[in-house]
Amino acid sequence: MTATENATPGAPIELRAVSKSFGPRKVLEECSFKVTAGTAFVLLGRSGTGKSVTLKLICGLIKPDAGAVFVNGEDITPLDSNALAVTRKHLGFLFQTAALFDSISVGENVAFPLRRRAEKPDPEIRNRAAELLESVGLGNEYDTMPSELSGGMRKRAGLARALAVEPSILLVDEPSAGLDPITSSEIDQLLLKIKTQQKTTLVIVTHNIPSARRVGDRFAFLDGGRLLAEGTADELTASENPLVRDFMKSQQAG
């Protein structure tokens, strides 16, 4: 194998010339970026530009047509579900739709990944799940069924589930969509805490610029299948590209 097939050291996530199409629709075209360990990478872009697809590529849920996706130093593109499970043990994913299991309660959703590992006895798992729900402001919802939650509450429950296994990499897709400003800023605090205390590497997709500024270290703007701009918040705000500039400035909290 050639040297170019090795991952960049210190970057637990790296996309290298990744292309992905759905039928005739090209979503990503030779898109490349890497995320430094313990930092928060914010992925911005208009709807339908492939942000969610990018997160799913990192999780191995979607295979790229070309290019390589490195997670924790390994190219995951050729791996099957069983091999991917090893990588995914260190990975948390909050889906844009939250994707809670609708046949079990909210609390059991959070407990699910813990039960799968079966490292702890049942009462401890329940306590841990309750604790996680508490941390996203859903302390009273353990026995509620997912269908009874509002969109924002589902999002938070999904976050609690993603955090359950204390992942070293956390992918979050629009965490503040459907949340009021106060809850939204609480979620930001939580993400910030996870980043600083647990040294988790974050990839955050969001349209909420004020929130992104609070949590994010590096920002990237996805458009036309590639990153149009990448840098700190200030660099993107001063970007020569009016689209990027407007995007950074026009957004309100919420």
Binding site: C59, S81, A85, R88, L91, F95, A99, D102, R116
Partner: protein, 272 residues
């Protein structure tokens, strides 16, 4: 790729060929999926908890449907048998003839079709719903092999439930036949049962009952395949559910012909 054929000057022919090509592709995908299920079946860890839940969902919850249908089918069959055998003055043979018809063919086939309806539609809709709401992706993201966890357990639940439900169907059918008979002739239950089973050897029950495991495999594999690969929102889920019933019913009826032939081949004395 299909456009290589689509360039044919005859539009109806190219449409037909395209349809054939699509169907072949679909069938290829199905066979691959069946292979994956078999491979994943022997991989650890075995999901016993989930398997048990599925056996309950597939088997236990089908019991009322099977018993009621069995009673109805048995009594109707019995009435037909009576009207036929009466002409030859062979009423004493009614229980035997009914047991024969039920055990050999009607029981397995009706059970299979009822399962295709109830279980096939259920699995197709459930997995389809999980697919389009990203719950299958969520499972995978939590380091769970979704084929192993969702698909293998359901397929095996169908394989296990099918022969059990068939035995239940056979007994319900005999009970229905007895009820129909008792009104007309006032026969006793023990006599009825005795005659029903007197001319059937134990080995006669085994092949037709076990063949329903193949029915179960077809129903499970077809409906998980369609549900697991569903796309296109609520409409796609509906399609997966409907197609699960249609395709597993057709698959089962066709494969049944081969199975009956095969059993006759193995047991020339008339095992099927």
């Amino acid at each position: 790729m299909p456009h290589s054929i689509a360039s044919n000057p005859q539009p109806w022919l190219s449409r037909f060929l395209l349809g054939v090509e699509e169907s072949l592709g679909w069938f290829g995908g199905f066979c691959q999926f069946a292979g994956l299920i078999i491979r994943e079946s022997i991989r650890r860890p075995f999901e016993f908890g989930e398997l048990l839940r599925q056996v309950v969902a597939v088997g236990y919850r089908s019991v009322p449907l099977i018993v009621l249908s069995g009673l109805a089918v048995g009594s109707v069959l019995s009435m037909h048998t009576r009207s036929t055998l009466e002409r030859f003055g062979a009423e004493a043979m009614i229980p035997t003839a009914l047991a024969f018809a039920l055990v050999k063919e009607t029981g397995p086939l009706v059970t299979g079709l009822l399962m295709a309806g109830r279980v096939g539609a259920g699995i197709g809709a459930e997995l389809g719903g999980m697919r389009v709401t990203e719950q299958i992706d969520a499972l995978e993201s939590l380091a769970v092999n979704s084929v192993h966890y969702l698909v293998v357990t359901r397929v095996w639940a169908c394989v296990i439930a099918a022969p059990l439900l068939t035995v239940l169907m056979n007994f319900s059918g005999l009970a229905g036949g007895f009820l129909a008979e008792v009104i007309v002739s006032g026969t006793s239950f023990t006599y009825y049962l005795h005659t029903a089973f007197s001319s059937l050897a134990f080995a006669d029950y085994i092949p037709p009952t076990l063949k329903t495991m193949v029915f179960g495999f077809i129903i499970g594999t077809m409906s998980t395949y369609l549900g697991y690969n569903a796309s296109g929102g609520a409409e796609g889920v509906g399609r997966a559910s409907t197609q699960s019933v249609v395709y597993s019913s057709i698959g089962l009826i066709v494969v049944n012909v081969l199975l009956v032939k095969f059993i006759f081949f193995l047991y020339p004395g008339g095992g099927a």
